[in-house]
């Protein structure tokens, strides 16, 4: 008895440690995707996240008041710049809609299946795991909002992660830079496939790319769709460093396109549709028609140029050959004389095209972009617009 009393503290310590080690061993052994969430996690999340929600709400409200009422300096100039950007992007969208139409027709010919992000839900990031070893965040949407485990989480810049646990009103999102994360990825130009993994230091690497392949730094990395979580073609990031890795594979370091350390709002992909492109949707087309659409067309009539000039939007006299060809390729003969407004109308009325631009916004019907989101958003310089008076 005396010995027990003397070593009571040590005995209790050993007992508590043993119980926890035993619990750990059981959890490691039982870990599987179908395992229900432990009650203690629900309690902990239930205790912490309401406070986080309140703080985020206060912060957002304060920020809104500041931005909506006080911080109006420079809005006029910003508005002018944005209008110019819209002009440029409208023209870019016209060109892309052409490419998309062509791709759709080819896909129909090949009986291709496309994946569409048909529904997303905007969510606010309210907290993190608080550990450097567990790179995950909590969002303010949960099971009650239709969130389920394994749903993809993205931002306008690129992919973020996947839903790991869905609680009633919050969800835990595993970030792509966590070491237990894995995403099917493909390099944009070389089309080499690999697995995107996080490291213990919070970096992202592309694994399983053979060491005899040539991967240049700066190449874009996209989702391959092979993981069954992320639709194909979403931007992941950019290759920053390539080195020789272990065994037969390259060590490719990737900088995520989304800023994972400063996440505020994200989109949860709640529905992905897969459908086959049908000729009825795109209109039957022969290969020669598709190719003919890409050939240079006859120069536009002089009166259309005058009208375009009068409208003060696109001046054919200052248009470069490249952009001229783009405009004519889109504008049907009947509306070609109406200048740029007709071009914009064509772009807006193209069903399902150009939606890649909106994939990162809060719209609820978004199509998986045929090109990476970031690449689509960046407008190419259009001399025709820049030179025209506004």
């Amino acid at each position: 008895m005396d010995v027990l009393g003397r070593y009571r503290n040590l005995i209790v310590l050993v007992g508590v440690l043993f119980a926890q080690v035993l619990g750990l061993a059981v959890q490691v052994r039982r870990t599987s995707d179908n395992e229900p969430t432990r009650l203690i996690r629900i309690w902990a999340v239930g205790a912490v996240t309401p406070l986080e929600k309140v703080l985020v709400w206060v912060q957002t409200s304060t920020g809104n008041v500041w931005h909506n009422y006080f911080y109006l300096r420079g809005v006029r100039a910003e508005n002018r710049n944005l209008k110019q950007q819209i002009e440029r992007m409208s023209l870019e969208q016209v060109r892309m809609s052409q490419d998309a139409d062509q791709a759709r027709r080819l896909q129909a010919l090949l009986a291709f299946k496309e994946q569409f992000i048909s529904q997303t839900m905007a969510a606010q990031v309210i907290g993190s795991s608080g550990s450097e070893q567990s790179r995950s965040v909590y969002i303010d949407k949960g099971e009650n909002d239709g969130i389920l485990p394994d749903m993809a989480v993205i931002t306008a810049d690129g992919i973020v992660g996947k839903v790991l646990h869905a609680y009633p009103s919050t969800s835990q999102v595993l970030l792509i830079n966590d070491q237990s994360s894995g995403v099917g990825a493909i390099l944009e130009k070389s089309r080499l496939q690999g697995i995107l993994k996080g490291t213990s230091a919070g970096e992202v690497t592309l694994e399983k790319v053979m060491s005899d392949e040539n991967v240049p730094a700066g190449e874009l990395v996209l989702t391959s769709g092979g993981d069954g979580i992320f639709p194909k073609g979403l931007l992941v990031g950019r290759v920053t460093k390539v080195g020789s890795g272990s065994e037969l594979f390259l060590n490719i370091r990737v900088r995520p396109a989304a800023d994972l350390s400063r996440l505020e709002e994200v989109l949860v992909v709640t529905k992905i549709d897969e459908r086959q492109a049908l000729p009825e949707q795109t209109g039957a087309a022969r290969a020669v028609d598709i190719l003919a659409g890409r050939l240079p067309s006859v120069p536009s009539k002089p009166e259309s140029a005058e009208k375009g000039d009068a409208a003060g939007v696109v001046a054919p006299t200052t248009t470069t050959a490249g952009s001229d060809a783009k405009l004519k390729a889109v504008s049907p003969p009947a509306s070609a004389s109406s200048g740029a407004p007709a071009v914009r109308k064509t772009a807006a009325s193209s069903p399902g095209t150009g939606s890649a631009n909106s994939s990162g916004t809060s719209t609820n019907a978004v199509k998986a972009p045929p090109k990476p989101v970031k690449a689509v958003v960046e407008p190419k310089p259009q001399p025709a617009v820049e030179d025209s008076p506004h």
Binding site: V12, L13, L24
Partner: protein, 172 residues
Amino acid sequence: MAITYTSGAQVEVYRFSIPATILIPLTAVFLQAWLPLRFHFFSFFDLPLLITIGFATARRSPLAGLSTGALIGILQDALTHHPIGLYGISKTVVGFGASSLGIKLDVENAGARFLLTFFFFVVHEVVYFMIARGLVGLRMAWSWPHEFLSGMANALLGVFIFLLLDHVKQRT
């Protein structure tokens, strides 16, 4: 001031009120989860660990220290996606060690608190690393410069947190 060896009769033993015992660890875990989102550098700190050390050294009871450490650690584990017990075991060891050392050392001055916090931060990281790699099989890399810098930062913050805890602790 150097760390002095004191007899058990000389050291002061403190207690915390029930609201403080519940709310302070909860606040620490909450801030640990929330602040790194807004201030990324805050992920260097481990507020729950500092609270564990602060409570343990003030109470100077190994049983109270290890149970406080275990509870705070398990709560912290519950917010991660790793198995529950990684932080629990690490903080149990730290809580027990800090309170055992608190009986024998004078930990009322800033220098002693700084060294104590730095030492137990390293102990915590070592225990966590060993369990995470050995038992759970996580791929982890040990970096002495990172641990050293984190330890110094945590020890510095610990001195201020212990000053705050001094205001809520009560003499028995």
